[in-house]
Every structure is written in C-alpha cells, then in structure tokens.
Symmetry: C2
Subunit: 431 residues, 2 copies
C-alpha cells in the first residue's frame, strides 16, 4: 500500500436525554426530554470523529450490534462500510425474521451516524472543514427559519437558558395556544435570533384556529418574511383544500397538508401554494413516484434519515435536476447535528429555502463552548477541521445521567399527551 | 482561518495529438491523430494536479480564458470554482452574443477538466487515492469491455505498440470490414487484454452487414460473453425495429439505435433489448424527459461531458434511484483519463456493466511508466495518491510536437472520411 490508511479501532455510544419543552404536534406533545445518541468513532492513530442522531433503545442496540462489524475498516471507505452494514442488516433479517429485524430505514439511520463521524474524522485528518469533503462551501453563514410550535406552559426538563438569551427565555417557557400566543412566540424568537423566515408547526388544533395563526403572523410580519405551515399530514383532503385556499398568496410553502403522495399530487393541482414534504416522500426509493405524480414542489432532506451528508448532496442534485426545491427538516437536536446541518447547508450549490431547526428550543448542549450562536437567522460555519465542534465530556456525562434517570426508551408523543389529556389518541387524519 | 488552505497559483495547458487508427463510425473515420488537452493545476505550496480532456482549438482557447479566473481559489472549493466559471461563461455570452459564446456544454467540459485536476491535488495533499474522495473503493479492479470498430487498414500516426502487445499488434493494424474481420479483431483484443464483454461500434455499414457481425460474434464467443452494439443513432426507426428484433436474446444492450428520446422511447416498447445511450440523454437537464418517457434503460456516463467525477457519482445515484443502469462512454484517450475512469468505476456502489474504453487503440502514452495494464479485462486502481499517475514530461513534449505538426484543430471524422471516399457526407439517419 502506497498511501495512508486510517482504520477504525474503537467506538463509544452514549445515549443522552436533552431537556425539551412541551411542544405540540399532530402526534401529541414532546416529552420533557428528547432522546439522542452521541456516536464517537476512533482510529488507531488516536483521533476521534463524532456524530449525533435521534435516539431510541432500539437504535442504540442496533448500533451496538452493528459497529463492531466495521472496526478495522478504513475511515474513507464509506461505500464499503455501508455495504458491510447492509450485509449485517440482511443477516439480521434472515436470522430474526419477524423479531423486529432491521428495515431499510434502520440501515439508513445507522449509516448516517457512521458517515458523519467518518467525515468528521476525514476532515480532522486533512485539517479541513467537513464542507470541503462535500465540494466546498458556497456560503459562510447558513440561513435557518424560526420554528414555532403550539405549546403548553413550561420548558420540560430543560436547563435554564444562559443569560444572553433572556429575551427569548420568557417566550420559551410561556404557553402558546392561540394566534396571539404564536405571534408573541415568533416575535420573541425572531428578536432573539434574527430569523427572516418563519415556520409554524400545526396539526394540534382545528384548522380554523391554526390558519388564523398563520394569517396573524402574516399580519404581524408582513409579506417580506416568508411563512411556512406544517400540519403533519393530519388534514383530510377537503380540509386541506378548503384551508389551503385561505393561505394562497400567504405561504412560501405548505408542508405535508395531507397524507401520501397520491393526495399531495391531487391537492397540488388545486391550490396555488408550493407543497413541501418530509412525510410523503422520505427515501430515495419513493422519489420516482413523487416525480411521476408531481406530488411535491420541495423535498425536505434530513441527513439522519436520508443516509448521511453525501446522500443529501445527491438528493439535492435530484431535486435540482427534476425542478424540485430542496430544504431541510429538523428534530429536537444539539450542536453536533446542527454543525452537520450547517456544513451540508453551506455546501449545497443552490439553497432554495432557509432550513428548519429546533435548536432554540433546546437549552442543553453537548459541545464544548456552549450553544452555537444563531445571528441574523444564520449559523456560521464552524472554523475548525471536520465538523468543527468537540464534545464537552462533562456535559455528555450530565446528559447521559439524564438519560439513565428519565426512564424514556423511545419518543412517544401520544403517551406524553395523555398526561395532559387522558384518553387522547393519535389519529392519522384528525380533521 | 483555523485550517489549511491550498490556493491555485498556476496552470499549464498542453494540447497534444495522439496516434489513432482509422476507426469507422457513423460520423466518418478517425483521423490519424486524436486531439487531447493535458491540464495541470498548481497550488502555491508547489504541488500539481492533472487531468486530460478531449481537445479542440476552441476548448483550448476557452480554457486559456477561463483558468486565470480561478487562480487564487482554494483547490477544495469546487462548488465555488464552478460558480466562477459559470459567471465567466455568462459574461462571455453577454459580451459576445453570436460569437460562439460558451454554452452549457462548454462549461461542463471545462469544469470537468478542472474538477479532476483539483481532486487529484486533493488526494495528493491527503496522501489518499482519488477514489477515497468519492466515498472509497468498492472494487480494486474495474472491468472494461473490448471496444471493436470497423476499420480501414493501418494504425494512423500511432507509435508502434510495445513488444508485450505483440498478439494485438497485427489485428490493430489490420482492416476489419466484415463479420470475419470483426470476429478476428475481437479474438485478438480479448486474447491480449482478457476482456469478458464486447462492444461493437456500428453505423458504418448497412444494418444487415453489421447485424451479421453481431451474430458472428455471438457464434464465436457464446452467450457467456455479453455483447453490445452501437450504431450511433444513424438508423431510422423502422430499421432499428427490424434489425433490433434480430438481436433480441443476443445483446446485453443496444446503444443509441435511433436519434432522440422520443424515438428511443417508442422503440423500447417494441423490442426486448435494454437500450443504452450517450447520445439521446447527455446532460442532467435531459434526465427528467428520459425518465418520463422511459426512453432508455442505461445511461452511459462520461466524466468529461457530465461535469466531473462527483457529478457522475450523482448521475449514478439518479440512475439507481430511477431503476436505470449506469455505465461509461469513452473517446480515444490516454492514461490520465483512464485513471480518472478507473477511480470513478471503483467508487460506483453498483457497477452494472463493464465500462467502455478506446485505450487499447492508442499506442501513445503521456503518463510515466507507459500504458496502464489491462488484465483479465480489468484495470487495477493505481496505488499512489490522487489519480495515482504522473505525466512523463518527455512524452508530453513529443505528443505536443505531434499537435503542432499535425495541423488538426478539431475532430472532424467527415473530412477524414472524404480522403477515403470523396464526396462522403454525414447523414444523421443514414439507413
């Protein structure tokens, strides 16, 4: 061998629980903690690469079984690493037919954790920011949108926000259950972080109330601030048609108003608002039907669920090639995921829309130096090599203790909602 | 800045002329020389990256005007470099309306030259083979197909083949103008290089004769050797239907039997052979119509014409996503282009077909150490960092002298054919 090799030699998996406010959505309400897994991969020479993914006991166990298979592999051999994980998944499926074998989504989820950590390591080995491994940066600062939620009062198990966020602290704790509450939340969030686009998560209240909130936001912010609205596919077709019409000329895009590509395609023909999705078209193998049906205008990528950062670059090329817009979905997350999103957002040749992020809602942090600043609605590319962020070991331990204490093993917004509204059940098409 | 930077500081462009035998195709016959341009990009620290592209006076001049614009840019900033070239192209188009401004294809062509040289440099800086910048290698040896041509006697202005290729030397010089000639050429080429797939370039003789050659190849090699046939879109629809039917069950794929996506789509419904293309769908913006019409089963990429190696990785993802096969087109080329093709071929997660290459037809070489070996039909990944091949300065000068002497400024197979058949003209649909 005439060139360098950097072989994976060890891994650490740390499940953590992050304080999360009681944010409402179509599936219920966020628990006091959001679960994440911090992945660390080490090479023989001693360097570490890191990543952060949505957590659950099932994914944690899958990672514990899968990662030993890739030890000894070179950190640049991502295609081969994926192949090994795929073979492992197939073997599990053969061995445990019916016993919750890995499906394609588990593979994608786990590979994304490995890919980001390997790219972080590659960047560190090269003394280059991760974005350079995606073709280089098109921008230094990546724009995000204010992500508004209906919410109950309180901030879950979150740590107190640091002083500098005082302006936002009150609104983050306050209930927001009507248009005035949502507008107040938006003003506080935009004031604190300078966001220039706004997204409202809906699906929690009857359409009439939520559309009133959208129109109140337009009234308060004017047409120069793009607005999006996302009822999480909980509307019936006629409901979406009726209330979609009310938001024509108001929304930048309407996200997942109805469930499934067929309904999205039918609705898209009848209302004059671009439709976006992270629920109806969620994987590469669903793209051909999305394109054929013309079911959506905008695909919301998420490197955790599309198979990593390079896969999202490819998804962007597909969107661009087929005349679809591209943006980014988010879940409750910390700074490692944010850094990965920022590197991807900086590399995307044509960024059509400000990206989603839950980041202002989480006061906890696992990276050294505390939370990455959001200024003028943007996050600056971290400057160091790789992801440009490092784990704070004490913060990691504290958040891991949260995990051990809280007893949660998976996200279940329905069970959480039943604590507020006994007997509440999720309905895929509620209105 | 907390990380390394490697800024482009100089470039060298060397037009070369490479001996090329009189190979026939639908557009005429190859001139005694094929034109290529060798691109060298230097960074301030002193390292060089190299690439090789199809040459013409027009492309050479375009490169001379374009490359000064990207001096001072970081070798990892490929998205920004592309953006600068695009802005330059737009400015030229505005300035010189009607005076042969850059079109999208010129931009893609020039960017591919820059991208490969930058990736070569990146690999050298990282002490990593280029394939690792594409996600790592899925295979150590990349399979190619024997590429047969009808030809007149002679080897053009080619240098004599080195001794080790003695078995192939005679066939390479011989005429091949009928089925027996083609079978003989195939046996010599497969004998010398161990190819396990065969492609015949057609479009030169009436369909009946060429189909007879295909059937003779099948007879000689049996069903275990995949056969492809490419009449370069020179057949009329009814001709393709009639003669395509004769090759059902015989061909692995039929390449560009007719001209244009519409005709390809119509033909594809009527014959039971996968259709491939490098003429009907040739750019990203033509893919949506190709997918919509279902005009082809297999897209033949070419990093020189699709915008570089990463663009071809994205093309592969699109092919995979939409259920299309992926392989690679070739022109007369030397070892730098072959090395780039091999790195790409090694990185492709799912390589459906052996790749095309003209390489056995060119005796000249520009890389140090002479021609890369083809063994058992495969080329091994070069072992060094980056592309893993280096320019031989004396060979480069000799091939540049060829360029200055030969007087050719662009490829024109029609003019060349008129030397054999006075009055011959190209016809887009000859039969």
């Amino acid at each position: 061998m005439k060139h360098a090799s950097h072989l994976l030699s060890a891994f650490r998996l740390t499940p953590i629980a992050v304080g999360d406010p009681p944010l409402l959505n179509a599936a219920g309400v966020h628990a006091p903690y959001a679960l994440r897994i911090i992945v660390e991969l080490q090479i023989r020479q001693g360097g570490w690469g890191i990543s952060e993914i949505p957590g659950s006991e099932r994914i944690l166990q899958s990672l514990h079984k899968a990662l030993p298979r890739i030890m000894g592999m070179d950190v640049f051999q991502l295609h081969s690493i994926r192949q090994v994980l795929q073979a492992h998944a197939k073997q599990l499926a053969d061995d445990q037919r019916g016993l919750n074998p890995w499906d394609a989504r588990t593979l994608v989820h786990i590979f994304s954790a490995v890919e980001v950590a390997c790219l972080d390591l590659q960047g560190k080995l090269l003394d280059r920011p991760l974005v350079d491994l995606l073709g280089g940066k098109m921008r230094e600062r990546v724009p995000f949108a204010a992500y508004l939620f209906y919410k109950y009062e309180g901030e879950g198990a979150a740590s107190p926000l640091p002083d500098r966020a005082a302006a936002w602290r009150e609104a983050r704790r306050a209930a927001a259950l009507d248009p005035a509450g949502i507008v107040g939340q938006a003003q506080a969030m935009c004031g604190a972080f300078g966001f220039n686009s706004i997204k409202l998560k809906g699906g929690a209240f009857p359409p009439k109330e939520e559309v009133a909130a959208v129109l109140a936001l337009r009234q308060a912010f004017g047409p120069e601030v793009p607005l999006r609205f996302d009822p999480n596919a909980v509307w019936k077709f006629d409901t979406a048609l009726k209330w979609g019409k009310q938001m024509e000329g108001v929304l930048e895009y309407l996200e997942d108003p109805v469930r499934g590509q067929q309904q999205m395609a039918a609705l898209r023909k009848k209302i004059d608002i671009p439709l976006a999705t992270n629920m109806c078209t969620t994987a590469f193998d669903e793209l051909p039907e999305s394109i054929r049906l013309q079911s959506e205008d905008i695909i919301l990528s998420d490197h955790h669920f599309w198979g990593g950062l390079r896969a999202c670059m490819q998804l962007h090329r597909i969107c661009h090639t087929f005349g679809r817009g591209f943006s980014m979905h988010s879940n409750s997350h910390l700074g490692i995921s944010l850094a990965a999103m920022v590197h991807l957002g900086a590399a995307i040749p044509r960024l059509d829309y400000a990206l989603d992020t839950h980041y202002p809602w989480q006061a906890d942090e696992v990276i050294a130096g505390g939370k990455l600043p959001i200024e003028e609605g943007c996050v600056a590319l971290p400057e160091g090599p790789g992801l440009g962020v490092e784990i704070d070991p004490r913060a990691l331990q504290r958040l891991h203790q949260n995990y051990l204490k809280c007893g949660l093993k998976e996200r279940n917004d329905e069970v959480e909602m039943q604590k507020y509204q006994p007997g509440w059940t999720f309905q895929p098409s509620r209105w």
